[in-house]
């Protein structure tokens, strides 16, 4: 399989590092693009300056509480943009509040996950994600026009 491209939208550097470490433990061949806030995430997805060379990701891992533009806004923008809305967006948050879960699904999140505190559990979660999204699930083509 070709290299998987993952866009991680996360402002906490420690969480970024942990996610990278855990992803490395899996068998997945991946490149990770990183957005430190919601605005960057939108610039990367829309290939706007200074991210003209950005790749369209196969999957977005989205934190909810972000500086400048918060995760819910990113989700709403992505899912209302005809060019972006097919990209699977997985919300990865610490919040277990039903309010957040409901909001995200109503904004058409493809999945809502809570970040486990335990590293092993986090490892398992990422492993399962890899198996499901890059093993079982069929992902849409990168461009809207069918090949």
């Amino acid at each position: 399989m070709t290299q998987a491209n993952i866009l991680l939208v996360e402002d906490n550097p420690a969480d970024v590092r942990l996610t990278q470490e855990v992803l490395r433990e899996t068998q997945l061949d991946f490149v990770m693009q990183l957005a430190r806030d919601g605005e960057q995430a939108m610039q990367i997805l829309r290939k706007q300056a200074p991210f003209e060379d950005a790749q369209t990701p196969d999957l977005v891992l989205l934190d909810l509480n972000l500086p400048r533009k918060d995760g819910r806004e990113v989700l709403a923008e992505v899912k209302s943009d005809p060019d972006l809305r097919r990209i699977p967006v997985l919300v990865l948050s610490t919040s277990k509040a039903e309010r957040d879960i409901l909001t995200c699904y109503e904004l058409h999140a493809n999945c809502y996950l809570t970040k486990p505190v335990d590293l092993d559990q986090f490892g398992q979660l990422v492993q399962t994600l890899q198996q499901f999204w890059f093993g079982m699930a069929m992902l849409p083509p990168k461009s809207r026009k069918a090949h």
């Binding site: 509480n65 919040s95 590293l119």
Partner: protein, 402 residues
């Protein structure tokens, strides 16, 4: 000659006046005017009575109207008898008038003290003013209550916000601490040596304690905000769901959790689940080393509803500490001996209270009969929901509990 003349056989009144035109005119006009006035008075009175409900002494007014009306008729008769000698008829009308006027006079007498007791318009005005002042004072009090309510709502929202921040922002750094210490332990095990590994274990243990504390605090702060729609369900199922969440603890400790037949009950089962989970967890946790934990759940019918009890064979609680265990952060053991945040029983008490029941605890220590029994009652009908929960139905959250 008509029949009335035959009855009396007398001459009409006009004869007495010698049919002098001026005399007859004088009498006829004045009698007619009096009759007109007398007829108009009861008409006005009856009109007034019809238009206005609840007039005091209305029956006397009706009598008075009849009396005046009859007086009018006597004057009509006076005119008529100038030409026609209907003296019996005239007399009859007078008898009727006399009867009604006597009745009216008699009805008036007992009315006097009652009428005197009635408030004068001035008195009514004074009472009115007093009432208005009272209303003003109530309005002011109402305003103060509204303000207090608003302040309460604000502080409630702030508390909710705090709980949210606690769940998200406090856990993020904690996850880093745990994650990296465990990465360190895995990747650099050789370089760390035994002492280094011990430090790492201590970091992870502390982080675990903090995690429990955050989870429990969160659960406690949200008891009143979690939606607890009363549903009709078998308590056995609720208990099984609680035990499923404790599966790992039950298996690792080899605990024997048993229960009697449990009833079907209308209550907030999502909250009841938390109660069972905490109580069973306590029963498994607070055990002397090496002993197989035994926890038994039973129920009994009471007059108000049901009483449930959760009995364990654990280390028990000293008698002098039984009062304080329901207070938040009460811990009876060092962190190294038994893990716990000191929130569990406070949480249970708060939940049971919200469900409309009460909790009690008894315990014996040492020897074979050692153990703790926590009893809690639940009402037959679910307790009415606090408003906060009704206003925010979207806050059902499942919490991890220690």
């Amino acid at each position: 000659m008509n029949m009335f003349d035959t009855v009396t056989g007398l001459m009409p009144h006009g004869v007495c006046f010698f049919y002098r035109q001026d005399l007859i005119l004088l009498h006829v006009i004045s009698d007619a005017l009096i009759a007109l006035a007398y007829f108009s008075i009861p008409v006005t009175l009856l009109h007034f009575l019809r238009k206005r409900a609840s007039i005091p002494f209305a029956h006397v007014l009706v009598l008075f109207a009849a009396f005046i009306m009859l007086c009018g008729f006597t004057h009509i008769m006076g005119i008529w008898t100038i030409w026609k000698p209907y003296y019996y008829l005239e007399g009859g009308v007078k008898v009727l008038t006399a009867a009604v006027s006597l009745l009216t006079a008699a009805a008036l007498v007992p009315l006097v003290p009652k009428a005197l007791a009635m408030r004068t318009p001035e008195e009514l005005e004074a009472v009115n003013t007093q009432l208005r002042e009272q209303i003003d004072r109530r309005d002011e009090a109402e305003q103060v209550t509204q303000q207090t309510l608003q302040q309460l709502e604000t502080s409630n929202r702030e508390l909710e916000q705090f709980a949210y921040v606690a769940s998200h922002d406090l856990q993020a750094p904690l996850r880093s601490v745990k994650g990296f210490s465990s990465l360190l332990g895995k990747k650099y095990a050789e370089q760390l040596g035994d002492e280094g590994q011990e430090y790492i274990d201590l970091i992870e243990e502390s982080a675990g304690n903090m995690q429990r504390l955050i989870d429990d605090l969160l659960a406690l702060s949200r008891v009143d905000q979690v939606a607890a729609e009363p549903t009709d369900a078998d308590v056995t199922e609720t208990l099984d769901a609680a035990l499923a969440q404790l599966d790992a603890d039950i298996k690792s400790s080899g605990a024997q959790v048993t229960h009697d037949e449990l009833p079907t009950l209308t209550t907030g089962h999502n909250l009841l689940l938390q109660v069972f989970q905490n109580l069973v967890s306590n029963g498994i946790k607070f055990q002397p080393p090496g002993q197989t934990p035994k926890v038994h759940i039973s129920s009994a019918r009471t007059r108000e509803g049901w009483e449930f009890s959760v009995r364990d064979n654990g280390i028990g609680i000293p008698q002098d500490k039984l009062q304080s265990v329901f207070e938040i952060f009460t811990r009876l053991h060092g962190q190294g001996e038994y893990e716990g945040s000191g929130i569990g029983l406070a949480l249970i008490q708060r939940i049971v209270k919200r469900l409309g029941g009460s909790v009690s605890i008894e315990s014996t220590q040492g020897g074979k009969g050692s153990g703790t029994t926590v009893r809690f009652s639940l009402p037959e009908r679910p307790a009415s929901q606090p408003e906060s929960a009704q206003e925010r139905p979207g806050l059902t959250t499942s919490f991890g509990t220690a």
